[in-house]
Symmetry: C2
Subunit: 224 residues, 2 copies
Amino acid sequence: MSERRPGEIPEATVARLAVYLRVLTGLVDASTVTVSSEELATIAGVNSAKLRKDLSYLGSIGTRGVGYDVTVLREKIASSLGLTQRRTCVLVGIGNLGHALAGYSGFSSRGFTFVGYFDADPARVGEPIVDSRIRDIAELELVVKSHGVSIGVIATPAEAAQTVCERLVDAGVTSILNFAPSVLTVPDNVDVRKVDLAAEMQILSFHEHRKSRGLGNGLVESVG
Amino acid sequence: MSERRPGEIPEATVARLAVYLRVLTGLVDASTVTVSSEELATIAGVNSAKLRKDLSYLGSIGTRGVGYDVTVLREKIASSLGLTQRRTCVLVGIGNLGHALAGYSGFSSRGFTFVGYFDADPARVGEPIVDSRIRDIAELELVVKSHGVSIGVIATPAEAAQTVCERLVDAGVTSILNFAPSVLTVPDNVDVRKVDLAAEMQILSFHEHRKSRGLGNGLVESVG
DNA sequence: TTCACTTTGTGCCTGCGTTCACAAGCGGTT
DNA sequence: AACCGCTTGTGAACGCAGGCACAAAGTGAA
Ligand SMILES: NC(=O)c1ccc[n+]([C@@H]2O[C@H](COP(=O)([O-])OP(=O)(O)OC[C@H]3O[C@@H](n4cnc5c(N)ncnc54)[C@H](O)[C@@H]3O)[C@@H](O)[C@H]2O)c1
Ligand SMILES: NC(=O)c1ccc[n+]([C@@H]2O[C@H](COP(=O)([O-])OP(=O)(O)OC[C@H]3O[C@@H](n4cnc5c(N)ncnc54)[C@H](O)[C@@H]3O)[C@@H](O)[C@H]2O)c1
C-alpha cells in the first residue's frame, strides 16, 4: 500500500524539478561537467537529502563518489517533465498582464510555443502582438483544435475566467494556468494551477503582522 | 509538544485564508448575511471540514446550527492577515512585467500601497507611472526608510535579483515577493515568496506528459 | 587486489496537513 | 420547557513530505 509505482513522482518533487532544471541549465552554460548533490542543493536552496530523494524518483542517475553528470541530469529532468516536445499554448485576455506575458521570452526558451493570443474586446482584436496579431475570442476553438493546444493561460478579469475556462476545456485543452482571482471548476481530467498575486501579498502581510506583534511583548492578542 | 499556541496559524491555512477573504468580500457585495461552512467551502473550492478547521484557528466565530456571519468573518480574517493597516510596498524593475503590476488595481483595493517604482535604466527613470514617476534605484534606501516599507516586489532580470534583494533587506524590508527566476538568499527574519511562472508551466507540462503516456497502454516507461 | 575516501540512494522516523465522523451547541417550534 | 434539526468545532486516524544517518557503490592509489 505504501509502494510508489515507478514513474510516480510526488507533486512536491515535480515543483522542485523545475528549479533544478533551471539551475542545471545555468551549469551547462558555465561548462560544468559534474555536480554533487551538496553543491546543487546549495544553489537550488534546498536540503541535499531532499534533492537526492527527488532525483531518485527519476532512477539512479548519479555516480557514487562522483556526483551527477550535469548534461545527463538536465536531459533526464527535462524528459520527466515532458519537455522533450514543445508544448503549444494559447493566451486569453490580452490586457495589462496579458501583454507582459506575451512579451516574455522565458516561455519560448523553455519549450512553450504560444500559437494564439485572444481577446474579446473588438478594439484590441487585430492589434499586433509579438510576431502575430490579437485574435477574436470567437476563433479560440478553431486554433486550439488545429494546433492540438495543451495549455491555456487565462488573464481575463475574474468574471470572464470560468466561461473562458469552459471554452478552453470544450475545445480540448487539458491544462490551465489561471491568473484571474477566481476559483475554476473543471472536469477531473483537467489540471488547473492558479497564480494569485494578491494572495501572495496577503501571505506576506500575515508574516509582517506576526513579526510586529512579537516585538512589543511576549503576549499574543487575546480574543475578546 | 503537539499543542499549538493560540495565534499560531499553519502556513497552509494562511494561504487559504486569502481565498476565503476574497470569496467573503464577494458575498458582502451580494448582501449575503450568513454563510455555512458547506456553502463557503464549495465556493472556495475546498473541503468543508478543512475550511472549518482553518477558521477554528481564528477562534470560535460561527454559530452552530446557523453558520458564519459574513461581515464578522471577513473582518476577523482581514485582521488575522494583518490587513487592518495598509501595507506600504515598493516595486523594483519596471519592465514588461513591472508595468503590468504597477497598473493592477487589485493590490490597492486589498490594502497595499505602492510608494515607489524603481528602475536602474536611466532611459526609464522619470517616466510617468500610475500617479507617480519611475525613480532611480539610487533612491531606494531613502524611500524605503522614510515610508517604513515592509514589502518589496522584485521584477528585475534574474541576474539583478539578489543584489536588489540585499539592498531592500539592508534598507529594512522584511518581506519580498520575487518574480525573477532565481533563488534569493536572505537573513532568517526576512520572508521570501517567489512566483515562478515558467515553473508553473513546466508542472502543467509534466501532467500533460503523464496523461498522454497513460493513453496508449497501461505500461510505464521503463528506464533503459 | 585491497584500502581509503567520496557521494549516492534509501530506510526510518517525525511532523504537518487533510479528512472523517461525531459530540456539543444553538435556534426554532410546539 | 422539551424537543428536533442543523451546523460548528475538534479528536483521531491517515497519508504525504522532510530530514537524518548509514549502508552500498563507485573512484583512485598503492
Ligand atoms: N495586471 C496585473 O499585474 C495582475 C496582477 C494580479 C492579478 N491579475 C489578474 O489578471 C487578470 C488580468 O489582469 P489585467 O490587469 O491584465 O486586466 P485587464 O483589464 O488589463 O485585461 C483583461 C483583458 O481581458 C479581456 N477580456 C475580458 N473578457 C474576456 C473574455 N470573455 N474573453 C477574452 N478576453 C476577455 C479584456 O478585453 C482585457 O483586454 C485579472 O483577472 C486580474 O485580476 C493581474
Ligand atoms: N514578463 C513576464 O511575463 C514574466 C514572466 C515570468 C517571469 N518574468 C520574470 O520577471 C522579471 C522581469 O521580467 P520583464 O519581462 O519585466 O523583464 P524586462 O527586461 O522587461 O524588465 C526588467 C527591468 O528591470 C530593470 N533592471 C535591471 N537591473 C536592475 C537593477 N539592478 N535595479 C533595478 N532595475 C533593474 C531593467 O531596466 C528593466 O526595466 C524577469 O526576471 C523575468 O524572468 C517575467
